[in-house]
Symmetry: D2
């Protein structure tokens, strides 16, 4: 447990710490029966707070330094028809859960705002900032430790959001949901990164939509842009927990399996370990996950970076970290465990679906949006 | 909620009810950070009872009529080295959690016993029954509603276990972990079924090790044997939640991905719906899951059989059961949702791994044990 | 070369010889530009005799003991619209080519008759035999050495064909184009085999439609039937050169790739070696191929059975039979040849398509006809 | 037939003609039993001239405007041990075969020289040109129509070869066997192209090693370089007939299937049609193939470009060019032909291997050399 650590993320990053983020809420709670698929709203914070809290605890035990509030994300997203709660009621409950977990586990409470309905409708800066302000105020009233300006697909809107977020005097992290091809208008990752940094965000990066390795490709382009401009904000990466090489410019959204048959694409703990190592090597210092990243994935990231972080997660007590339980069986000559007591085995394994008719990737409706080398 | 329903499973089956079982504990709690991989013991019932209770609640909300106690399963399984709890302490805590959930949700509390260390060592009936008795007594002291004699690979040991279990005057369900090729000595599923029924088990079937569709193949052979012998016990099926066509006689245990990279093999909710329907059509009346079957899978089974059961799970409030949230987006002309608002789309989808190098199945170390038509 | 060997196949089989058949004509000559796809008629024997002769020579050099005449196969197959040749003219030219090759290479000249238009239309024995007689007479006039009654899907028609063929006093081989599920009316392979043998055919077996390993499954069922009936005709197997596990009851015909994209399914020379060995072990003594089996496949079969045949094909002079050319490169430390100088490497290799989006098998339009264990 | 056309390729290109090259000799003749695998030398021109001539005729009938001599390619390649023929004897016979076919079919006779042993050993220009001169002289004595300087992996050696080739006063085409990453020293395709053009080659491009679509990626980079330098030589592309996305910097050579199990990677006729169209659109005007491209592939290219070429190949008489034979069956309601009477069906089909355990691509021994987006 890291109960005595500072809750100021910039202070900790400044001390050279590698910060682990948390993982998926909405996606995981949908599978647990508390969030409506298709709608994906956080009324569970009021309806079933124990379930939300349990998940937040899981992430904290898995090594997450951050507890993100399970708050409403946009003005144009309604709750399911049978839910009569107001957005404010829900977000307040969400903040309380996050604070409670933070009090016990010492995590940094982070609250997010995302792309607006206003931007799509008016592209007017005042409208956009007004909508974002609504979302931010409940977070500020609950005195969160970190504002995450996330899931933006337009660098212009992102710049307005950063400007607003910085005005509250809290640490701000800014992450876009873009791939290697850039933002919705085709602005390159390199330029997006430079503009986010110039807008003043001390932490920049990407989140959601794309798989961990595509996300790193994007981060790598961002870093090249920042290096070229002589800028060095902290880098953050919270990718999807599903493999999406055939996903096009919207990542998983356009996949045939989205949203109800993503299982075979879910990453393994060893893919997450590889991601964490590669992210670290690229210079990323806030490493976490988005939809599809569950607590054992976060634990795998925290364990991979244990040498750099000088600590193991609480949940590592229940992790076969050195593979000794498998090694023991292998050493007894049990053929089904042959080779499995070694990390390399798992790092190199390419897992199967067990579905005789499955192809590894889908042919895309919109080949324009896909890496042509994959489609040839 | 089914709070007023009888907790006597035989009474309910006698009334023509289709019973839904619950899903995976050990496997799911390992991913949540509460169970040690490789060891797989239930000390979480003492260490983190909230997590065990949360999972039991999830299953009840998903439509499970049964809450299985998360109890120790065998004399020769030690706890992790750093755990000082006794088996009795753990099992008692597990029973209490199950009872608590049952009191609130009206579920049938089931406790299981499994294959013994004694059988492997001595093959002596007295030894075997002595070991099983240890496991059973804590269950009886806690007044469970149903004994499940499960995960046996030898019909002889199973017969001894049934004999013992019946002596307590509780309803007994007997399930073996065998595939279409039969038990560890090559006794066919048909003969196993007949012998279990003749041993007096009113409910017989299979659990674990094999995927839902292979499990149904085994059940189908069992049923043929029973029909031939003029016997008609209730049938029960609680398969693995992972696809294992290439798994050999031990199912998933021999797969290269076992246990740390099974994700791409995990079944989807629609594969579970198909399983539930086919199981029902085969005459199976207790339908649930084992490792890899999570609460949304159980919900999918309960929803598929809602017409036969005359009820929907609590968690269906958060289920896009009629796919209307997707249909709505499809109707707005959003290309990424094309066709997705229709159950057939999901029932027919063969999902991809998103890993360009993955084959659908692995070549087996031991081809003897695999269906040759798959390997040719 | 086997110039001095007897041209009486029964005599040679009686001496314990393993006979190698030849491979594909119509399919291979289509690729070489001499046969019209879709029509698949043999006018090339008149139009481009050099091309037909070249192919026959290839098979003889590859070890084939048989040269099959490239003759017309059925009354209801017309020539392409621009071809004015009569069936008699074509078949006569085809016989002459086969005789010429036989004179030089010592091969047995075989002529085939196949399922009739008459059977589909009238199911009248006289009509059927009248149509078959037309086809047979040009073969008899050219004094062929062996009649092959092949590509029948109905055991009744086959029995009539055998009766007629035997009346000419020539050796007769009878092969059906059926899979493990039996003939068009569902008569099992075992019963078909027994009835063919009882009809008097000294050589029986199967040809075309199914891949080598499915063909062996069918042969194995035939053999079980024959053994049960105390019959022991010689067995013959001339399968397709394409892998068809997902092909249904008509084999390759129902595959999405038929006929213009079969390349990725084509067997390798090592798959043919495995086929020849397994066929031999099953007791098959006339081993060859049908569509998709080319001369290097025939050579691989003949080489695999060289110890049993006491001879190597002429074309083995140009075969890297002992893999020494690869071994030499491997021994020089060239990484691209690592392991390749060893037969086991090739026997165990599962080759890739090199098409990132390809699944190994197709989902079938008609799942009824496919092995369900493949489709699950 | 194009008997009256000029045999001067530059004249014809100058008139706007699209030239079709021929396909594979060594690879195809190995399968036909006339070339020793591993050695790959052309002694068949003396030993079995009919087989070499037959193949050359196939290409001419398929629409090839060029007949390449099946000549020896390098000083350091010995013949198989049992061959006592001299290099000169073989090459002379090869030229005679090509001339004979050219006389009948009106094709341009092309002779090739390739990378030298001298370059590897000494990197001395005089040595290299001396070795190349040996190869060229027999071609010049036989008065060929076109010198192809091909299969070079170093731009320096290529420049020397072009200089020498131009000295004979014949048209010269220069093609390198490089992929998108450039030559053996890392010189980019763009720079290679510019240097070949500046060395005076009127026709430049690539051949062998990589599949058609990777080849076009390379050509596209070459063209960008040429455009940038204001140069516009004619472009030529003769790729491999096997799919190699996972092939690394040496293309197919490093694939596990090379050379004896390439079948599943072989391109279909429709993949060739697509290649020809895309090549034409890129500005390529000499379009043919290398290893794995057979006569029906060349025919498909010529047919695809029939509108641009104002002619159909001779062998199109036997081609189901408009798919009418399939369409007819489809129109009769035969389910196995559903959709197949339409070119789009075939252009969009992703064919299967029919091997349940096959992955689409292989994991590479040397991931450095592979497109990382494919390997992730």
């Amino acid at each position: 447990m890291s109960a005595e650590k500072s809750k100021n993320i910039l202070e900790r990053l400044g001390n050279g710490e590698v910060i682990i983020g948390d993982g998926s809420y909405v996606n995981t709670l949908e599978k647990r029966g508390y969030v409506l698929a298709g709608c994906y709203t956080p009324e569970a914070s009021v309806e079933n707070p124990h379930a939300v809290e349990e998940l937040a605890i899981e992430y904290a035990r898995a090594g997450a330094d951050i507890t993100q509030t399970f708050t409403f994300y946009s003005r144009d997203v309604g709750t399911p028809k049978d839910v009569k709660l107001t957005c404010l009621e829900i977000n307040k409950a969400s903040c309380e859960i996050a604070k409670k977990v933070s009090n016990k586990w010492g995590t940094i409470v982070a609250g997010g705002i995302i792309q607006t309905a206003a931007f799509k409708q008016t592209r007017d800066k005042n409208d956009v900032q007004a909508e974002l302000r609504e979302g931010l105020e409940v977070l500020i009233q609950n005195d969160i430790d970190l504002i995450i300006v996330e899931y933006f697909r337009n660098i212009v809107e992102m710049e307005w959001a950063i400007e607003l977020a910085l005005s509250y005097g809290k640490p701000v992290a800014a992450t876009m949901c873009i791939g290697p091809k850039g933002d919705a208008s085709g602005v390159s990752p390199a330029e997006c990164a430079v503009r986010m940094a110039k807008a003043g965000a001390p932490i920049i990066g990407i989140n959601c939509l794309f798989d961990p390795f595509i996300a790193l490709e994007t981060i790598s382009k961002m870093k090249a842009g920042l290096d070229g401009a002589g800028l060095s904000p902290y880098l953050m990466c919270q990718p999807l927990g599903y493999r999406t090489p055939d996903g096009g410019s919207y990542g998983w959204i356009y996949l045939p399996e989205f949203p109800h048959a993503m299982e075979p694409r879910q990453v393994t703990r060893y893919e997450c370990a590889r991601f964490a190592r590669e992210a670290y090597n690229l210079g990323v210092r806030i490493i976490g996950g988005c939809c599809g990243i569950e607590s054992y994935h976060i634990r795998a990231m925290a364990e991979e970076l244990a040498p750099e972080r000088n600590c193991l997660p609480t949940a590592s007590r229940k992790s076969d970290l050195d593979l000794s339980t498998l090694k023991e069986k292998e050493d007894k000559g049990r053929p089904e465990f042959k080779g499995k007591g070694c990390k390399d085995y798992w790092m190199n394994l390419v897992p199967c679906t067990g579905r005789p008719l499955s192809a590894p990737m889908f042919r895309q409706a919109d080949p324009e949006t896909v890496n042509p080398s994959v489609l040839n």
